[in-house]
Amino acid sequence: MQTFLDFFSFTDPNVRWVVLGIMAMCAGAALVGVFAFLQKKSLVGDAISHAILPGICLSFLITESKATWALLPGAFLTGWFSLIAIDYLTRHTKLKSDSAIALVLSVFYGVGILLLTMIQNMELAQQSGLDKFLFGKAAAMVYEDVLVLIGLSILIAVVIFSLYRPFRLLSFNPEYAQSLGYPIRFLEGLLSGLTVLSVAIGVQAVGVVLMAALLITPAATARYWTNSLSVMLILATFFGAFSGLMGTYISYTYPHMPTGPWVVTVLSVIAILSVLLGRKKGVLASQRQLRRNGRKMLEENLLKCLYHLGEMDNEWQKKRTWAEITQKRLFTKKQLQRAWKALSRKKLLLADREGLLLSKEGEKMGRRITKIHRLWELYLTKHLHLASDHVHEDAEAIEHVITPELEKELEHQLGYPVLDPHEEPIPYNEDDKKDT
């Protein structure tokens, strides 16, 4: 508890700066990551982050300094070069994009390791600690590093904010953007530049291996909650910054814990939770939808069954016994119980020990389903040229999805027919025809 208070009161200036720096960096990476995600180029980010290592080493060999400003130019250069290499290989050789990415990633990284170990064995002053770029060492950042981090993250945010519309077009419909006269190549280059930049500043905190996660995961997570780009950007930024905060907190509380891997783990846990619970594509949401479909089908089938029983003696406001119902249609006991309970709650029928009685409203709904079923059968025979003995199964399912507008259109297009393909009457409710 004490560490919690110590940490979140931000009284320790060291903590304050490190936390701010990491959060800004994560947020910046998440922002550009959204566009990489939408262009299906997430893994290119992984290649860039590995390709930064040789650049850092080269910078160090030249400047002999470990400060962020000194290492950044080299990092940016090799990062950018890796992008060009991948692009060239996929365009001009038979290599496919996955091999091109993996090749560039591993070779650049190998060269980086070669240089890094060479530097370590050179016994230069200052060299110790360069290997921290492999896994990142957030706690070792100093005030100046943090200033650079924050400054560049703000730059990224400003560029994206001011070029929001062209970037959006570029991600969703590049051909259209081109036809509107946007300078596509320039915009693409700018976006790549921002990606390289955010990766180059990010490796300080999480290292080259895990940096890809900060680009990819927030965007992929946000996608489960929204379809809109602006909301996605906001959410991704939030997820990124929050994970940055939590990662630093954990390694503050347990000093031997590495920051980067914890940031990534927090992010991944949020991602998995979103995959399960997300409102847009989440697994639970889909399952809820499936259950809702099942319930709707069951209830409508019972109404339809009662309506069919009514058709036999033209008497719908009459109680039907349990035996009659199960004879007409095979309901299991459990299904029947679930359906009548739900329907009587909605006042669509009355139930007692002997059987069920449709209410006026229930009769109307039963008639509607029966009508749609028969209209759909007719539609299938007319427009899909199906034999009349091959349409029932299809209609049994489709009758439950037709919306009122589609129902109207179906009636209209078929010309308010009175008989279905099996010569059964198509029943209409009172207000069906008046609407038109």
């Binding site: 479909n293 427009h383 899909l384 091959h390 299809d394 399912a397 999805v401 589609l406």
Partner: protein, 262 residues
């Protein structure tokens, strides 16, 4: 017009196929005669490839079933040959023409043994039939589009099947190659083989095919070419999707609604 036949080579029964819930083939119900040259025609994205794939058991079915020679596919697999769309493989793959054709001789049971000399003879024979014997050792990336297509055909011939399903064998092929291929298909028909061909060129449909299937998500016509190839059917086929049907399809996808009750 949909004409059904007795003793069909292929029978589709209430076949519905959906990708990510969205139906792309809706309730296909038809039979195709054996020993005929059969054309499948429809606009881009109308589901022709999907239909061939579902006959070959390569995509999951939402409803219905397929029978080939009145059996399930697994029982008659060795009698069926599938020629995928040319673009479906990597033509930079390091194999030569003979390697590809020999693949037609592979059997799941004999996967661990080498190709026999008889297999090689059959493969060479098939290459001769498509006039490609001069290219036996050529790497496939060094072939023209028409030659690639003929290699695929030779691979199918090497299977020595009774039923051939060919996805756009004339795509990217010049006129003279097309007529060579066509002669070959006709001679195969003369041997009693059934050949189903996905085709795009409406000009030639009349000369090429005995039987025609018109498709656009739903089946529009299936019958002898002379009877079904008319302007009304073509308007239906190429006149766009059915408004209500495609909207119901969208709804099914949006609500993740099942296409059959169970």
């Amino acid at each position: 017009m949909i004409q059904q036949v007795a003793n069909p080579a292929i029978e589709l029964h209430s076949l519905t196929v959906a990708y990510q819930q969205k139906p792309v083939l809706w309730n296909l119900d038809y039979t195709l005669p054996a020993g005929k040259l059969i054309g499948i025609v429809g606009p881009n994205g109308s589901g022709k490839t999907t239909m061939i794939k579902s006959i070959m058991g390569l995509v999951p079915l939402s409803s219905g079933y397929v029978k080939i020679f009145d059996e399930s596919l697994d029982k008659v697999r060795s009698r069926v040959s599938y020629v995928p769309q040319r673009g479906s493989v990597d033509w930079d793959f390091p194999v030569n023409v003979l390697d590809v054709v020999l693949m037609g001789r592979a059997k799941p049971r004999r996967l661990f043994s080498r190709y026999s000399s008889q297999d090689k003879e059959i493969a060479m024979d098939s290459l001769k039939k498509v006039n490609m014997e001069a290219f036996v050792k050529r790497q496939i990336s060094e072939l023209s589009g028409g030659q690639q297509q003929r290699v695929f055909l030779a691979r199918a011939l090497a299977q020595q099947a009774d039923l051939y399903l060919m996805d756009e064998p004339f795509a990217g092929v010049d006129a003279s190659t097309e007529s060579t291929i066509m002669d070959l298909l006709k001679s195969m028909r003369a041997e009693g083989k059934t050949i189903v061909v996905v085709h795009h060129d409406l000009q030639t449909v009349n000369h090429y095919f005995d039987w025609l299937v018109l498709l656009n998500t739903r089946l529009i016509a299936s019958g002898p070419t002379k009877e079904v190839f008319n302007s009304e059917a073509l308007t239906q086929t190429y006149g766009g999707k059915l408004n209500i049907l495609s909207r119901v399809g969208d709804l099914v996808k949006e609500k993740a609604h099942p296409l059959r009750e169970k």
